[in-house]
Subunit: 370 residues, 2 copies
């Protein structure tokens, strides 16, 4: 059961259509909200369905530590555990192992690390990362790769990239479940020659889709744009293309234009909890006192529950009182904003006017409302 | 526009039916979730409507300090501000002034206190408490009374009760809006003679309903039961009877049996956030590790969103990860439990078997599940 990708429209390098897997659909370009520990923070699955993403992401690192993959497997998989019956993508755990855990040892075989929760020792290998993701019964699993911290010397980037290629093959070997599709990850930092080699060798492997990894890790915007614009379109046209951990609305626009199909990022949810809200006219920092007496909706052009029912003044008040309901309403709005951005990008591709859409909206969307 | 109270069934002292005010209905006996700062903590109005309370409570003390009554009035009242279009009851602010604020001075005219948020000085009088509740456009306002700390000497209780009677008359004088109905509060601590005098004199005043105040403030259960069972049924039969700040499911059962129509309490919402969950078989402390591998629903006899969609294991996991979604799901369940308790009590009164319902359920409902 491979992924059926049906690209119905293209606009230069950009593309849209439908992908079908496990009898469920996703509509690229798609944004996947992050459900770190199973739940998208502050929302119920009912609220999330009203926002209408096709896929959410679960973090293997967090789920393997709490509650543990055995428990989720015994529960019937992550869909049964968290009640989300649409698609679930899981990362491999690699990124968090390298960024959040206390590392003990990295070898060609895998990574020894300690849990940040209780200091317990864990060992993650390519085989184990796939085994765990299959226990979660993920619809899309990610290959386990080595994510090195930046800045790094080119030879270190190269070594990690080569090791990741080796691990990629082991991940493919380890995969046993047909319904758990596996994506390979292209690494190589900001070096074109390394990226090209990683792309060539990764895309020669029988993965169900491909991702650009190692981006959106704190580098300047133009460095990411350089890699995305030079490599996204070179990824296989008949497979889904995923840009991991990205990003801002503007990053997403650029990457869609370069041919990317899938995104995930904590930005809409995390920013929501911090009162940083996206609107069609620019960013609103809701705790700013200018909104105390502002009885207008957060974004008059938005159809979300928050904008249909509440004012900026009420959201300001809830933020000021540190009320959870404020975090919920802000999260509903920001995720709705991201979903409507993706819808707008799909429509623009269908209409063949993506460049124009981006030209008009990109300069406005992330600037504070004047 | 007075409150139309239509008692359709009685069972000994207990009563049910409908009350209509401002073209909205409430069904006594009714439980009112607490929306301290406007929102019922962690829920949207959509989630709250699915739980189906007829009335929610707003705290005048909190709302007068943040965001301030002028702002809410300018916004069109509390219903417009928080998006709740059913009934709203507000307390007078008195209870919190006496329990949360730094008191500067109590005189026959009113109370001077400092805000716990910023130390700012405020002055609350009977007239001002009514003025603020009218600014909030509350459907049911509460008279401003003196709430003394317990234990207290009888003469101090008496003095506060007499002052509250005086303030009650000032509240009635201050009321100018027909749609803002006003309830009087019977005080007198645990002294039958003081309670009787307060009841006689308060109920002789032209209030739209009456409340028992000064209970559920840390006294032993039997002391509260003594006052409720001896005085609730003496309150006017043609007006709504409200027991303030109560309580546990068992307290509510007893009070309904004594003739009480309305309740409010933070227990279902606060306990939810602490993982203390009510079920038809007893209390579940969801963070207990016995629930880690429990894949059954929280309460198999419950129809709420949480019980229909999630397991105890998932709720345990969300609690352990300190996920806001856990607080939301727990709150939905506990409030649903309280609403279904009220529904069951109404049905039992209609069927004339309230005593039997209570006899069967009261011993189980607050004990930990064995």
């Amino acid at each position: 059961m491979s992924i059926q990708l049906n690209i119905t429209h293209t606009d230069k390098k950009a593309r849209t259509g439908t992908a079908t897997l496990n009898r469920k659909k996703m509509r690229p370009p798609a944004f996947m909200p992050v459900g770190t520990c199973g739940a998208v923070k502050s929302l119920t699955t009912e609220q999330l369905k009203a926002i209408d993403p096709d896929v959410i992401l679960g973090n293997t690192f967090h789920l393997m530590l709490r509650p543990g993959p055995e428990l989720i497997e015994a529960h019937g998989g992550l869909h049964k555990f968290n009640g989300w019956d649409r698609l679930i993508l899981t990362d491999s755990g690699g990124f968090q192992v390298f960024s959040l855990a206390t590392l003990n040892k990295i070898t060609d075989e895998g990574v020894m690390f300690r849990s940040p929760y209780n200091g317990q020792k864990h060992y993650l290998t390519p085989e184990k990362a796939i085994h765990i993701q299959q226990q979660l019964n993920s619809d899309i699993m990610m290959a386990f790769d080595e994510c090195i911290g930046l800045p790094a010397e080119k030879h270190a980037v190269e070594k990690a990239m080569i090791r990741s290629l080796d691990w990629a093959k082991q991940c493919i070997q380890a995969k046993t479940k047909d319904n758990c599709h596996l994506f390979g990850i292209i690494q190589g930092g900001f070096h074109h020659d390394l990226r090209q080699r990683s792309l060539d060798e990764t895309c020669a492997l029988p993965f169900d889709g491909f991702a650009l990894g190692g981006l959106s890790v704190g580098e300047p915007k133009d460095k990411m744009d350089d890699i995305v614009s030079n490599f996204a379109y070179k990824m296989p046209v008949d497979k889904l293309r995923y840009l991991m951990g990205v990003g801002t609305p503007s990053d997403i626009m650029n990457a869609v234009r370069s041919g990317i199909d899938m995104f995930d990022c904590v930005m809409p949810t995390r920013n929501a909890r911090n009162g940083h809200l996206f609107t069609h006219k620019g960013v609103i920092k809701i705790r700013n006192k200018r909104y105390k007496n502002d009885f207008s909706p957060l974004d008059p052009d938005c159809e979300c529950f928050t904008c249909r029912n509440h004012s900026r003044a009420y959201l300001h008040h809830l933020d000021k009182c540190n009320e959870m309901t404020g975090a919920v309403l802000n999260t509903i709005h920001n995720l709705h904003f991201y979903q409507s951005l993706m819808r707008a990008l799909r429509r623009a591709i269908e209409a063949g006017n993506l460049d124009k859409y981006i030209e008009i909206n990109q300069p406005i969307i992330e600037e504070p409302i004047p």
